[in-house]
Amino acid sequence: MTTLAENKLLFKGADWDFDLIKRVHEACGEIGINEMGLDPYPNQIEVITTEQMLDAYASTGMPLFYRHWSFGKEFARNEALYRKGYQGLAYEIVINSNPCLVYIMEENSATMQTLVIAHAGYGHSHFFKNNYVFKQWTDADGILDYLEFARAYIAKCEDRYGQEEVERMLDAAHALQSHGVHRFPRKRMADLRSEQKREEERRLHGEQLFNDLWRTVPAGKRKPNKDEDERRKALLGLPEENLLYFLEKTAPRLAPWQREILRVVRLINQYFYPQRQTKVMNEGCATYVHHRIMNRLHEKGQIDDGSFLEFIHSHTGVVLQPGFDDRRYSGINPYALGFAMCCDIERICTKPTDEDREWMPDIAGNNDPYGTLRDIWANYRDESFVSQFLSPACIRDFGLFRVVDDEEQEEMNVAAIHDERGYRKIRRALSKHYDIAYRDPDIQIVDVDLAGDRKLILGHRVLDGIVLEEGDTQKVLQHVADLWGYDVKLVEADDSGVVRGEHTASPRRPFM
């Protein structure tokens, strides 16, 4: 409500109502949009209960999802942890859609609701709308409709082909989902809404064209080709790193509905791909935005000291980074790193030191922190963000050090610490750590023996001598063999061509 006087408190105490949410949303927008220049999606704020939050957890935060036992497992796990008090629930869940869905819990106090709206409704929402990875890969307008379609399609398949068969198919698809993304944009992905229509039309078209006579037409003799190998690979588009895509398109024995299920899992997973690449930046952006907005609200006298302290308490918990030797340590906290880096960039823009001028001459002292940050949020992902903007000051604050653990050595070795010689090394190592292409094993489909026994050959490019985990790989390969319908082999070799391991699987219960 713009009629509110500047110095009037937005609320007092912990209780909130819908009117208050509206006022808070506008007050945050005043700061977020007018002062910081953010450009978020319109928000749709949904108030939910604890139980509904647990439900949302189980389906990766999405408001609707197809049915599968693994979501039930996830639900059971979270519920048990929550009931015993091991794990608190998130204050919010935000969904990259247009309008941006923000779930807030009814148990939150008024201060927490303000924090959540600033964090999700302005921070995340701005990031989703502007970051290039999201722009390139996700279709925020269509995702909810597509999920609706996926859910209905899979339910229909269950009715028609039986729950067990569909479940088996989904198990196989889920096992491969980390290797079911296109990492490089080829042609622009069709938007998800037309995706639904496409499926319908293709099926109808197939039914119309079907003519059994074609089966009886004798095939002409094929001319022998010298470059048979090359030709075959080119035809199949090999090598192919998107395993799900390859199987969907080329597995010889799958029924159309089974291909469609592979496609559904693949497309939904592709939607989440940007989130995996931008965890630090996304959380950093949202945390920085809520921190700024809350501070400004306090400065303008719109929240009182009590709620400001409540906010500080919660915020400190969120950006806590325990040291490596701490019992609570479980990796680098993306909130902490992202927030620290954003604050650091603000500092470099406004109060640079000599060191900063030397390291980041482009932005040091340009006195436009918000513009600089907006530009960074739009054009980088975690890997490039860290490699460009992790400043020595930040490395010192975190006390980052790099440890190399070589199997052949007796001890692990501290390769770099936060000193002159170490900054670049640490920055490079950390940036590599956030590079998804490096973190996920590089597995590709290399060849298919179409003329012979139709064996599918996959290759794992072994980096740093780290092979695949034996048990899981065997299980996943079994799924691949069942999907492919014939034998499958996975060869692990490093760049010098030394074979580090081989796994094979034969179909036990092929899908057909």
């Binding site: 509904q52 049915r67 680098i332 980052l400 094993p441 996943v476």
Partner: protein, 434 residues
């Protein structure tokens, strides 16, 4: 911006997924439930609760790198003392070193979650079956089932059947030749036309008369007449209800100590839970006996002490009497469970056997005798069967009678013994009913 209040939306979105998960992990969950039941207190026997199952069966594999070997590179926060070139001894396996450790989900080998009461009991009592569930009685007026039964000419307005009513209305209209609306409209048009054209007075007159007649007729024959109206009729059917009564018989003489009573109580509780799930209505009758038997309430049954001799037959006579008074055999499924330490006055054995064979077993669906003993007693190998008075007497019960006897010495035996007694048997092998 919109605010939407979703709090009142129906919950339980994850219910279907949860069921799928339980079905998937059924074998492991069942095992876990059986194991958990050994450590539970009697009050919680039927409650849900947390269980843990090995992750194996519900593991979701994915392709990822091994956590051992090779050349690894970590960036860690919180350096306090290290300088470049320092060596760090490798932590013990599973020491949590390394920033890649957390996302593989490998570390946990157990999956913990909570079951609801309903789910727990289902699994707990799965595969168990009550022998001879035959007698289903038509119980009192309360239990009525309503079902659709055709149509009637009277009823409340809310139950009007529109299709049926219109069907009757149409056939009546056709039969009585009610003029159709379009015929009247056409006639009117024609009259109008003639009026405009003028002349042809006779023809006009005839048409007007025709119209008048038709209008009068359609007024006499209404579109929907009360005789057309039909109502969807409901019929009430008495609903058969299976009722069961469970007799708990226990020796409370001095020789029964607290441990034995506790064992008996556990057995009764299980039986009660089980009956309760199979029957809509279960009565429990407690009969305790020393040298004389009396019907008591639960509290007295388990906790008050009595002194006296031990004459088991008194309890059986008492039971027969109660059945005669309150539980007509043709209306009730009768179950009995007897717990005793096996003592009986020697002269009474023949009476007990006679009463059991001739009176009790013929009216019972099932009669279970549980002989409770001390923890340490007879535990050496080759102890064989107990040889108490009562046990020897019951040995002479015919094999085909719905009768079973077991010896229980320890808490952990209760559930296995119970399962053994009520395990689902293949057709034909089950104990014959009375």
């Amino acid at each position: 911006m919109h605010i939407i209040d979703r709090r009142l939306n129906p919950g339980g979105k994850s219910f279907a997924n949860r069921q799928r998960f339980l079905r998937r992990a059924r074998a492991q969950v069942r095992k876990a439930v059986r194991e958990a039941s050994g450590t539970r207190s009697i009050k919680d026997a039927g409650k849900g609760g947390e269980i843990s199952i090995p992750t194996g069966g519900v593991h979701e594999p994915h392709l990822h790198r091994s956590r051992h070997g090779g050349m690894r590179d970590y960036v860690l926060p919180g350096n306090k003392k290290y300088i470049e070139g320092d060596g760090i001894p490798r932590p013990e396996q599973g020491g949590g070193q390394g920033s890649q450790a957390s996302d593989s989900g490998e570390g946990e080998d157990e999956f913990r979650f909570a079951l609801t009461d309903e789910e727990y009991l289902d699994l707990y009592l799965e595969d168990l079956e009550l022998p001879d569930l035959a007698k289903r009685q038509i119980a009192g007026a309360k239990a009525v089932q309503w079902r659709q039964a055709g149509f009637s000419t009277s009823g409340p307005p809310s139950r009007i059947s529109v299709p049926r009513t219109l069907r009757y209305s149409m056939s009546r209209r056709i039969a009585l030749k009610r003029p159709k609306a379009e015929e009247i409209a056409a006639l009117r048009e024609e009259i109008e036309k003639l009026e405009r054209e003028g002349g042809q007075f006779d023809a006009l007159q005839a048409l007007r008369l025709d119209l008048e007649q038709r209008l009068a007729r359609s007024k006499r024959i209404p579109y929907i007449d009360p005789v057309d109206v039909r109502y969807r009729r409901l019929e009430s059917n008495p609903k058969p209800i299976a009722k069961a009564v469970m007799f708990c018989l226990m020796d409370v003489s001095g020789s029964m100590n607290e441990h034995m009573k506790d064992l008996a109580k556990r057995f009764y509780s299980l039986l009660y839970l089980f009956l309760n799930r199979r029957y809509e209505h279960v009565d429990v009758v407690f009969i305790r006996h020393t040298h004389e038997a009396s019907e008591v309430d639960e509290q007295t049954f388990f906790y008050s002490r009595e002194t006296g001799g031990t004459v088991v037959s008194t309890a059986l006579f008492k039971m027969a009497e109660i059945v005669r008074d309150r539980y007509p055999v043709d209306q009730w499924n009768i179950y009995a469970a007897q717990a005793s330490d096996g003592d009986n006055t020697s002269s009474d054995n023949a009476v007990v056997l006679g009463q059991l064979k001739d009176v009790i077993l013929p009216i019972c669906q099932y009669y279970a005798y549980v002989e409770v003993g001390m923890d340490d007693e007879d535990d050496h190998p080759g102890a064989g069967e107990p040889s108490t008075n009562l046990w020897r007497a019951y040995r002479r019960v015919p094999v085909d009678a719905p009768f079973a006897m077991r010896k229980v010495r320890h808490r952990r035996d209760i559930y296995p013994v119970f399962r053994e007694l009520f395990a689902r048997r293949p057709e034909g092998v089950s104990a014959e009913g009375a």
